[in-house]
């Protein structure tokens, strides 16, 4: 185990320390006193490395990341998993806005809530299928332009009179699937998406990920799975297909 104290360390120096530690074949990194440093784990490609963060990391945690596992034992800020390609990020708390923007691979497990614009333009390709499991609720524009991948929203923090997501859910979605535990009010949805009952295969996928979620955050699996899920799917893979015609 390799320890780094991040107290009063500028983000650029901290990230250089992390990169150097990995270059020196350290596989388990623990970083103490993290306080808003940007870009932790950005662009790292080593699949067998684990980085544990004590404290709140700054924006773009794990951006362009392609391998390691990052465990945050606190909340995280904006841009977690931005354009991430592989690896895993676990946040024991809530995460900020623009979670998983354009994420193409790997997985994110967020214990509590996420902010606005989560999973915009998430996409999948062949064996790369990004998975995001959010334990709490989400802000507006969740899954906008979503082109692939799996997003599971559990709503465990949902209070009775509040919706599980903000408005404009899945606007422009043309691929992938969003599973929401419980129900979703129709007025939150974009008109070109619909909800349907998840298939048995879908439920296998949900169960697998919820099990993992419960393993990580020590939740009661049966209690979560007691409630049904709805699946949000695009009506077409070409929502904008008719908007344009060949010009002169």
């Amino acid at each position: 185990m390799y320890e780094i104290d991040a107290k009063d360390v500028y983000y650029r120096d901290l990230n250089e320390q992390i990169r150097n530690a990995i270059k020196n074949h350290n596989k388990e990194l623990v970083i103490e006193n993290v306080c808003g440093q940007y870009y932790i784990g950005c662009g790292l490609s080593d699949p067998d490395v684990t980085i544990t963060l004590h404290g709140v990391p700054g924006n773009d945690l794990g951006a362009f990341m392609n391998g390691p596992e990052i465990v945050v034992l606190d909340d995280a800020q904006d841009g977690v998993g931005n354009t991430m390609n592989g690896g895993r990020i676990i946040v024991h708390g809530s995460a900020g806005d623009v979670l998983a923007y354009s994420m193409r691979g790997g997985s994110l497990f967020i214990e509590r809530d996420v902010g606005y614009r989560a999973c915009i333009h998430m996409k999948a390709y062949k064996e790369m299928n990004p998975t995001v499991v959010v334990g709490g609720c989400a802000g507006a524009f969740m899954g906008e332009y979503m082109a692939g991948g799996t997003l599971i929203l559990l709503g465990l923090t949902k209070s009775k009179n509040k919706p599980i997501t903000g408005n404009y859910l899945a606007t422009g979605m043309h691929g992938g699937s969003i599973f929401i535990r419980g129900s979703v009010e129709p007025h939150l949805l974009w008109e070109q998406v619909k909800t349907e009952e998840p298939s048995l295969e879908d439920y296998d996928l949900i169960k697998e990920n919820v099990k993992e979620f419960c393993n990580i955050f020590k939740n009661d699996y049966n209690e979560i799975m007691n409630e049904e899920f709805v699946k949000v799917v695009p009506k077409s893979t070409r929502p904008y297909g008719d908007l344009y015609i060949p010009g002169p």
Binding site: N66, N82, Y101, S102, G172, T237
Partner: protein, 504 residues
């Protein structure tokens, strides 16, 4: 019969194909070559016919015809003359018939003023001698990136740590045109030419095919709002990374590669499912401010360990000078400004024809603003969008650019005839298509040779002109507006361009 005219969708043909029946030897080469279904052969009559409505005037048939039997003519306007309506009738009808907005390619073709043609260059006479580039060395080498405010030297070596730079042997690069928009062979040709000439090809936002990773050292990779094909090896292969905020062909709107163009290899390169629309959102949804842009710039710098310059590309828009200042302060190493004449990209016609600024004016105001704020050395400027010849390059550099991008000019060198059908994916010259039958029409050996020739000739022309001005290094030309004079320009235009009128 499939050639039957449909009254419901009729608009008058724009071109007429005239065929000299005496010359035609019925070889059917034109029938085979036409990718727009405008030419067909009638066996019963042993005659080649044309369907003028489908003709786009790409001139492929005329070029292939061994007996020069084919002429294509612009059809004269057949509605009653009406100055205010005549160029709008067909477009309006199409919208009404098909219920969609027309998409076009190849940049703004409206007759807006071209400022390049209103600027004249200087030459030396007597008082300082002109230089003969055939006899004396002429320096075109250009470095793009942040320059230090001051340098310190210790023991005859440079102590100041320099920012990463792009080193160009000629100040001309190939603009961002993605594999997907362009065919495989064209990307191959652009890559080879860039390597040979010591310059760069910009991969565009569609990712880079694994075969083209061999051009490492001569590739700029682009990160756009869709983030297609963006992953660590892709960022690593680029000598610089370009964040595309906007492009001249369609300022402010996103990209849209239709599902039918997303073939297997394109899907592999873009890393997205085959047949699905490739939608690039209008903004980067993680960039809503200059501060956010700074965050993305430094995320890319972190991901590549501060080894590569970061370019930010924007379309030239009304407030371009202030935006460029923000981009400089956000930490970009290079800014690319794309004028409204630019545009190999597919774009809704209304946007292409009405949005943006001429690059000449945008370039002049950006250079001036950055100088007045004392931050010009923090960033290099690439001008693009409507660079048509070597003199446009010279004038752009004299106005303040460090280098230029050429897109349309490069495609013209390969065979493009500007028929503006790039977005249809049926390019008869094999340039902007993924149809294997069509794309093999570009031979990468010949195409790269032509691109190399073009850059060599332009370089010579630039050297000749510099020599005439008595300048032997492109560095001395940069921002040297005293070598420009305006003609037929208003006082206000001269003031914006920062140049004197001819005769003064």
């Amino acid at each position: 019969m499939k050639w039957m005219k449909n009254l419901k969708t009729y608009t008058p043909p724009a071109f007429t194909v005239i065929r000299d029946n005496d010359r035609c030897i019925r070889c059917k080469a034109c029938v085979e070559q036409c990718s727009f279904d405008a030419t067909f052969y009638d066996e019963e009559e042993d005659k080649v016919w044309n369907w003028d409505s489908n003709c786009v005037s790409c001139n492929r048939c005329a070029a292939i015809c061994p007996t020069e039997a084919i002429t294509i003519e612009k059809r004269d306007y057949s509605y009653r003359r009406n100055y205010s309506w005549e160029s709008h009738i067909d477009g309006l009808k199409k919208r009404a018939i098909f219920g969609g907005t027309p998409v076009v390619s190849m940049g703004n073709d409206k007759p807006y003023k071209i400022y390049w043609d209103h600027m004249l260059l200087n030459a030396s006479q007597v008082t300082n001698p002109s230089i003969d580039p055939l006899r004396e060395p002429m320096e075109l080498k250009t470095f793009l990136g942040k320059k230090p405010h001051s340098i310190s030297v210790e023991n005859v070596s440079l102590k100041t740590k320099l920012s990463p730079q792009l080193e160009l042997d000629v100040p001309i690069m190939f603009a961002a045109m993605s594999y997907g928009a362009l065919s495989y062979n064209v990307v191959e040709a652009l890559g080879r030419a860039a390597k040979e000439m010591g310059t760069f090809y910009n991969s565009g936002e569609g990712g880079l095919n694994k075969d083209h990773y061999k051009f490492k050292g001569n590739i700029i990779v682009q990160v756009a709002s869709g983030r297609f094909g963006v992953h660590k090896p892709y960022l690593d292969v680029g000598s610089a990374i370009e964040i595309k905020i906007g492009q001249g062909a369609k300022p402010g709107i996103g990209g849209h590669l239709p599902g039918e163009k997303v073939t297997e290899t394109i899907s592999e390169t873009r890393m997205m499912p085959q047949g699905s629309d490739a939608i690039s959102p209008a903004p980067h949804h993680d960039v809503y401010s200059i501060e956010d842009l700074r965050q993305l710039i430094y995320a890319l710098k972190e991901a590549t360990e501060y080894t590569k310059p970061i370019i930010v590309k924007i379309a030239a828009v009304h407030n371009v000078a202030a935006i460029a200042s923000g981009i400089t302060r956000a930490g970009a190493d290079i800014i690319c400004i794309d004028g409204f004449k630019g545009g190999t990209g597919a774009s809704p016609q209304v946007i292409r024809d009405n949005v943006g600024l001429p690059i000449e004016l945008a370039l002049a105001v950006v250079d001036e603003r950055l100088r007045s704020e004392g931050i010009r050395q923090d960033i290099s400027i690439i001008a693009s969008g409507g660079i048509r010849n070597s003199m446009d390059v010279v004038k752009a550099i004299a106005l303040g650019a460090d280098a230029v991008y050429i897109g349309t000019a490069a495609l013209l060198a390969i065979g493009c005839t500007m028929c503006q059908q790039c977005h249809t994916g049926r390019c008869a010259w094999g340039i902007t298509t993924q149809d294997p039958h069509l794309s093999k029409r570009v031979n990468p050996d010949i195409a790269s040779e032509r691109l190399i020739n073009l850059l060599k000739v332009w370089s010579l022309e630039i050297k000749e002109t510099m020599g005439a001005m008595g300048i032997n290094s492109i560095e001395s030309l940069r921002g040297n507006r005293l070598n420009l004079r305006g003609i037929d320009l208003s006082d206000r235009e001269l003031e914006i361009l920062g140049i004197l009128p001819a005769g003064e």
